[in-house]
């Protein structure tokens, strides 16, 4: 269980959605071992698909780089203690999408 406050690194989400996502992260961290990144990511993705429609993507870990295309208004990258969360919705209409290159590098090994 990680009890720390979520720290937003980057987002283009509305405030309410940000709060909901970070609440889901805390629920996931309460329900799963911190080493079980896949279950944490899966929990968040499922809940967001239910709440805001399908095609959410959820990446949870300590050490990764990424480059994504997401629907505008559906992207957040935040940290809870040493765990990083990259959450975004797929955009099929690319006039409403944008590209982000995101990452965090630490000495800690990847979860896998």
């Amino acid at each position: 269980m990680l009890e720390g406050k979520a720290v937003v690194r980057e987002t283009d989400m509305p405030e309410g959605m940000q709060s909901y996502v970070m609440e889901l992260a805390h629920q996931a961290l309460d329900a799963h071992e911190v080493s079980d990144c896949q279950s944490i990511a899966h929990f968040i993705k499922q809940k967001l698909d239910e709440a805001y429609g399908p095609a959410w993507n959820s990446v949870v870990g300590k050490d990764f780089g990424s480059c994504i295309t997401h629907l505008c208004g559906s992207f957040i990258f935040f940290r809870v203690e040493m765990m990083e969360f990259l959450i975004f919705k797929d955009g099929k209409n690319f006039t409403e999408s944008r590209e982000e290159a995101i990452g965090v590098l630490q000495k800690a090994r990847n979860c896998d």
Binding site: N57, V59, D63, F64, G65, S66, C67, I68, T69, L86, D90, G91, K92, F94, S97, E99, A101, I102, G103, L105
Partner: protein, 59 residues
């Protein structure tokens, strides 16, 4: 430079697309230092967008 062979975890991609992905990973690891994870991801994503249409994700 990492010289190891790519090991597929899971895929539903056509063989040719799988080959594109693993080839690009090898090229990226030649161009970039292994710690440049964002640049590696960006390189692969941009090539896939170019080769196979937009909207790819790379982690």
């Amino acid at each position: 430079m990492l010289e190891g062979k790519a090991v597929i975890g899971e895929t539903d991609m056509l063989q040719t697309m799988q080959q594109d992905a693993t080839d690009l990973a090898s090229k990226a690891l030649d161009f970039f230092d292994v710690t440049e994870a964002i640049e590696i991801a960006r390189f692969i994503k941009k090539e896939f967008d170019r080769m196979h249409g937009p909207g790819w994700q790379c982690m």
